[in-house]
């Protein structure tokens, strides 16, 4: 084995697992200028998400959302990517670990592989892929945007190694690869290996594995996926016909009721099933019926309840509260047979379906357990890492952190947030490497081109046989070399190889080339690389155009070489026309202000402030009330038994005394201006309302939510009616009162999941379970009734729910349209509810009525702040993040972040994760000394602008505004570069840099040059 050659400083973070969590953590650390090694046992990073078709609740295409992250992580200079690598040993301690990494042989030189696929064409059996319902993507990398963009060879299946080596035009196949093993020092470790999925083949009643039309939810996802086995067509595996009736059965292998099931709830499967049902209705024939058999619909995430309602009301997905026991296919029948009962009647219903999807939950697989053993971290009974106190991402071993589904079952946004939080903590165990000494060659100054005639260099790759095998590159070069303004035209071989790049750079310098056309592959994958090359050759990197003659000509017209040649020439001519109109673009930059403004002094705000202050940043923590602490200071303990009061007191003490934190209480934000990195925010402070202005680079909103108190069920009219928050305080502060209680009734979803407030408050089910258990602890004789609609005790909370049932708490389901009735009879409270199972009304006289009223956004306050900061909110008044999946704590205005219940209702531990995630995201922005105002943005020519407001309305991001001089202004720091404004502008006063009108038009002119003449 070779030795892995990495320098022995421990100033880096090891991330194990290249799924979404690992990639996110790596990017956050790298952007904060910390070094990272990202290892994954698979051939390419991407993890489970690459197998999904779309994601809830936006129904976005998954690859589209993941791909930008993947290509970024391949490029980042701080990230060392090590696929096919396993962590074998960990010694040392926090700040100073030594880890042993073992890399399996890939038999492919990653530097050379272009991902062309010749090896797979010739030897499909030797090229590795990840199996399972034929997950093989057509290119036989695991998915089309694979990173690294390279194959992997399974040498054991290869009979003729010599021929295999010869087939590779890039010479990238290395049959004598022996892998490598070596020790690496690192300061912290983030474990993000993900979870496996429950394998239902052991359950003989479901017929999985025997009946082809019974599939798991992930397999169904593959069937829907465009890169899946059916090319995105919904077909029954048994007969290839489109199914007319599809059923989902929830909680397979979760919530502990079947053979081999885990006790916890897998958290994400309800939404997963909803998404699949909606996509089925949306994409395929309207006449495909979709039915979901569920125990409790657990749509507790932000706006997830709305998604559930849409599935039911708009898409007509049928929901049946039942668990069919078995799936049978009678002899000779084509369809699957389900028997079930419903709430309304005890009669057994028989129904046939064409396909049944099993919603299989998360499991910690053997590989992840071994990883935990290697790292020496403790696991709970379900094999998930035990965390310390309220910090979900810290393990039992200091310096080792966890994120994603390995920590606990969860969905993508929560995975992303945890990954950022883990990056925050891991980043604190290492310092930024000193890059000054490492820069090998300083970049030459950019040449000034003013007055210079265009001198274009055209370099045409042959990409081995990929291009050269179809067209005559030399002849093509000769023809395009004769075009006007072309100084040099050359064949470049494998243009992206190190030798060719060096040759192109030298040619640019020697021949005084001032514009470059690359005829080769896709700018999506290679533009950045050649832009760097131009910059190293002293040219502005925007003086480059790509002609994608491989993907758009030789690969797709390989059977018509003449036509391919003609098209390749046309594409190069178009690129030439465009590059002649290219102009050098400057990426402006301004020095950044590194101070942080945190608004809100609850647990989220204080945690974010402390994390950033510990990194030496100056933090202003602004709180509206006279004291720090927020809502958590009214909570005594969590469901898991953590002491919240002590935790909050400690947090307040540390925050108030920290040298880098300036706590400003009794302060109200009144004005705000500036740009990301250079904000100014004004506030009025104290009784005198004296005005104070703060200069800061970023803003964190942690303004919280407030306890809901709807006027329902005699709340506020009878002293025995309390909210769960009040009940909880009573239980801790006056337990003696509870000892006399005979009956306690709790009602769930009071003021939540209603027409006025359609979302789920997320925290109430677990709070009810917590309080019910506590009541029984104080008074074991009490009878506790919980009247609920769906019990949403997700993840490990489920085990407390089961505990409460076991201890005799009576859980009764009620329908929204038949809510319990509460009245006062002789000073005592009477509750009447409809018992669905008994089919009759039940009357309970209760000593205490606890209402689960949840949280609501403080509309007035968030509206005010949203107006001052120009931030969007959800319909129910929470701040709306930039992208629910990709940027869950970033707000749409750059430099703004959100944490805690200001984002949506959540638990204290979840708020803390978000607070740390925000701290990590803030550090990515504050790591740089400058703010870069990107170059590919829209620019307004003020002389042409008529201030007609069309751009103001057209911009999807609300960036343009009419400035004091009376014309449209577009802040380059906020422009996303889509160009919608430019195309809508009737005066043509706006141009999108890099895609200016003359550049696009000259492409068209060049294309038709020959047609005309």
């Amino acid at each position: 084995m070779q030795n892995t050659n990495l320098s022995q400083t421990s100033n880096r973070v090891l991330i194990v697992g290249g799924g979404l969590a690992g990639i996110r953590a790596a990017l956050d650390l790298a952007e904060a200028q910390k070094d990272v090694i990202l290892v994954d046992t698979a051939e390419n990073i991407g993890g489970l998400m690459t197998q999904l078709d779309r994601t809830f609740p936006t129904n976005n295409c998954d690859l589209c959302t993941l791909a930008p992250n993947l290509s970024e992580s391949g490029r980042q200079e701080h990230i060392t990517l090590m696929p096919m690598t396993t962590l074998r040993e960990v010694t040392g301690e926090q700040g100073d670990f030594i880890v042993t990494l073992e890399t399996a042989p890939r038999y492919i030189n990653l530097e050379r592989c272009t991902g062309c696929g010749e090896c797979f064409q010739a030897f499909p059996e030797c090229v590795r892929f990840t199996p399972g319902l034929d997950h093989r993507a057509p290119t036989c990398m695991r998915y089309p945007q694979a990173t690294p963009q390279a194959f992997s060879i399974d040498l054991a299946t290869c009979a003729d190694i010599e021929a295999l080596v010869k087939v590779c035009p890039a010479g990238a196949i290395v049959p004598d690869d022996i892998g490598s093993k070596g020790n690496v020092a690192c300061g912290a470790i983030v474990l993000a290996p993900g979870a496996s999925l429950f394998d239902p083949s052991g359950l003989d009643n479901l017929g999985y594995g025997e009946l082809p039309d019974v599939v798991t939810s992930l397999e169904y996802e593959r069937i829907l996926s465009a890169s899946g086995p059916t090319g995105g067509r919904l077909l029954r595996p048994s007969n290839g016909q489109p199914p007319k009736k599809v059923a989902w059965i929830q909680c397979i292998g979760s919530r502990g009721l079947q053979k081999g099931a885990a006790p916890y709830c897998s958290g994400a499967c309800c939404m997963f099933a909803l998404k699949e049902a909606i996509v089925t209705r949306e994409r395929f024939q309207e006449d495909t019926e979709t039915t979901i058999f569920y125990m409790d619909m657990r749509t507790f995430g932000k706006d997830y309840e709305l998604y559930y309602q849409r599935a039911k009301n708009e898409f007509g997905v049928r929901f049946i509260h039942s668990r069919p026991h078995s799936i049978l296919r009678p002899e000779g029948a084509e369809n699957l047979h389900l028997s079930y009962t419903t709430d309304d009647s005890p009669v057994l219903i028989n129904e046939d379906f064409d396909m049944v999807v099993l919603a299989t939950g998360f499991r910690i697989g053997e590989e992840a357990r071994q990883l935990a053993a290697v790292c020496g971290i403790e696991l709970n009974d379900d094999h998930f890492p035990i965390h310390t106190g309220l910090n979900q991402v810290a393990t039992s071993r200091p310096g080792i952190y966890v994120a994603g589904t390995f920590q606990a079952p969860k969905d993508i946004p929560e995975t992303m947030v945890q990954a950022s939080a883990a990056a925050c903590l891991a980043g604190h165990d290492v310092s930024s490497p000193d890059r000054e000494q490492e820069i090998p060659e300083p970049l030459p100054p950019e040449r000034h081109l003013v007055g210079e005639e265009p001198r274009v260099g055209i370099f045409v790759c042959d990409c081995g046989e990929n291009i050269g095998g179809v067209i005559d590159v030399e002849a093509l070069v000769a023809r395009v070399g004769a075009l006007p303004h072309v100084t040099v035209a050359q064949a470049a071989g494998h243009g992206c190889s190190r030798e060719s790049m060096e040759h192109i750079r030298a040619t640019i310098e020697q021949q005084g080339i001032n514009r470059v056309v690359i005829g080769g592959c896709s700018p999506r994958t290679h533009e950045a690389k050649f832009q760097d090359l131009l910059r190293r050759a002293g040219l502005n990197k925007y003086l480059l155009e790509f002609a994608n003659i491989r993907d758009q000509a030789t690969w797709v017209h390989s059977h018509q070489p003449e036509k391919a040649t003609k098209k390749a020439e046309e594409l190069i001519r178009m690129a030439l026309g465009a590059v002649l109109n290219a102009q050098p673009l400057a990426e402006h930059r301004l020095p950044i202000n590194k101070n942080v403004l945190v608004i809100g002094g609850g647990v989220s705000g204080m945690t974010a402030a402390l994390e950033l202050a510990e990194q030496g940043l100056k933090v202003y923590l602004v709180e509206r009330n006279a004291q720090l602490g927020g809502l958590a200071s009214r909570i005594h303990r969590t469901l898991e038994g953590d002491d919240v009061q002590g935790f909050v007191a400690d947090l307040v003490a540390r925050t108030s005394t920290h040298d880098n934190i300036d706590v400003i209480t009794s302060a109200i934000i009144v004005d705000h201006g500036g740009m990301p990195g250079l904000f100014k925010t004004g506030m009025q402070v104290g009784k005198q309302l004296f005005y104070r202005q703060i200069e800061h680079g970023i803003t964190i909103l942690a303004t919280g939510a407030m306890p809901h108190r709807p006027d329902l069920f005699l709340l506020g009219r009878h002293e025995d009616v309390k909210t769960q928050l009040e009940t909880q305080q009573l239980l801790e502060e006056r337990p003696e009162l509870v000892r006399d209680w005979e009956n306690v009734v709790m009602i769930q979803c009071v003021g939540s999941r209603t027409e006025d407030n359609p979302n789920c408050s997320r925290i109430c089910c677990q709070t009810a379970v917590k309080n019910a258990l506590r009541i029984l602890e104080i008074n074991p004789e009490a009878r506790v009734f919980v009247l609920y609609r769906d019990m949403r005790t997700y993840a490990f909370q489920e085990e407390y729910y089961q505990q409460a049932r076991a201890k005799g708490v009576i859980f009764v389901r009620y329908h929204q349209d038949r809510p319990p009735q509460v009245s006062e009879v002789g000073g005592k409270l009477e509750v009447v509810y409809q018992d669905i199972i008994l089919g009759r009304e039940v009357q309970v006289s209760t000593d205490c009525l606890c209402l689960s009223t949840g949280l609501i956004a403080e509309q007035d306050n968030t509206e005010e702040l949203a107006m001052i900061f120009k931030l969007p909110r959800t319909h129910d008044g929470y701040f709306l993040e930039d992208h629910i999946k990709l940027r869950p704590v970033d707000l749409p205005v750059p430099g703004f972040f959100v944490a805690g219940t200001a984002h949506a209702p959540k638990t204290i531990a979840e708020s803390l994760v978000q607070a740390r995630a925000v701290a990590a995201r803030a550090q990515t922005m504050l790591a740089s000394d400058y703010i870069s105002l990107g170059a590919a943005t829209a620019r307004v020519d003020s002389k042409l602008c008529a201030a007609c407001l069309i751009c103001v309305r057209a911009c999807p991001f609300g960036v343009p505004f009419i400035n004091a001089d009376g014309y449209s202004e577009i802040d380059p720091a906020r422009c996303h570069g889509c160009g919608v404004c430019a195309s809508e502008c009737p005066a043509k006063a706006i141009q999108l840099m890099q895609f200016e009108d003359d550049r696009i038009l000259s492409k068209l002119e060049q294309l038709f040059e020959e047609v005309e003449g």
């Binding site: 976005n60 057509p138 993907d551 068209l1004």
Partner: protein, 139 residues
């Protein structure tokens, strides 16, 4: 007419359609070489001017390819593009060019096969329609 080879311009958004074209390439899915791609950051960037310029210069057909509904990387640029294409189609009819020569299509980045299929169908359709009246007038 048999030898008529139309020229078709496909404005493809970077995030979906252009990626789908790359996918068609890496899957070696053949489609007619008549289709020439112009890359734009977002289909919403495609100006009525660009479409008309293509026809003026001699294109026999033009299509704008953006992301699937709700998938636009820039929120809703694809919807704006679709509206603009509808508008330009009406305009084409007014000036005597068949509006079928212009089309808005949507696809995800993974839909290499759809890219090839659209390119093939568009080419066949334009071949049936014959050369653009503008080209005929110029000749």
């Amino acid at each position: 007419m048999e030898s008529f080879e139309p020229v078709i311009v496909a404005f493809c958004c970077h995030y979906c359609a252009y990626t789908a074209a790359d996918m068609a390439g890496s899957q070696r899915l053949p489609y007619p070489s008549n289709v020439k791609i112009v890359r734009v950051p977002c289909s919403g960037k495609v100006d009525a001017l660009h479409i008309l310029k293509a026809f003026e210069k001699g294109a026999d057909g033009v299509y704008v390819a953006g992301c699937l509904e709700g998938d636009c990387h820039f929120k809703n640029g694809n919807d704006k593009a679709a509206r603009r294409v509808d508008y330009v189609k009406r305009y084409l009819e007014e000036i005597g060019i068949e509006s079928e020569r212009l089309m808005m299509v949507r696809m995800s980045a993974g839909m290499g096969a759809r890219f090839a299929q659209v390119a093939t169908e568009m080419t066949e359709k334009i071949r049936r329609l014959g050369p653009s009246p503008i080209k005929a007038a110029a000749a």
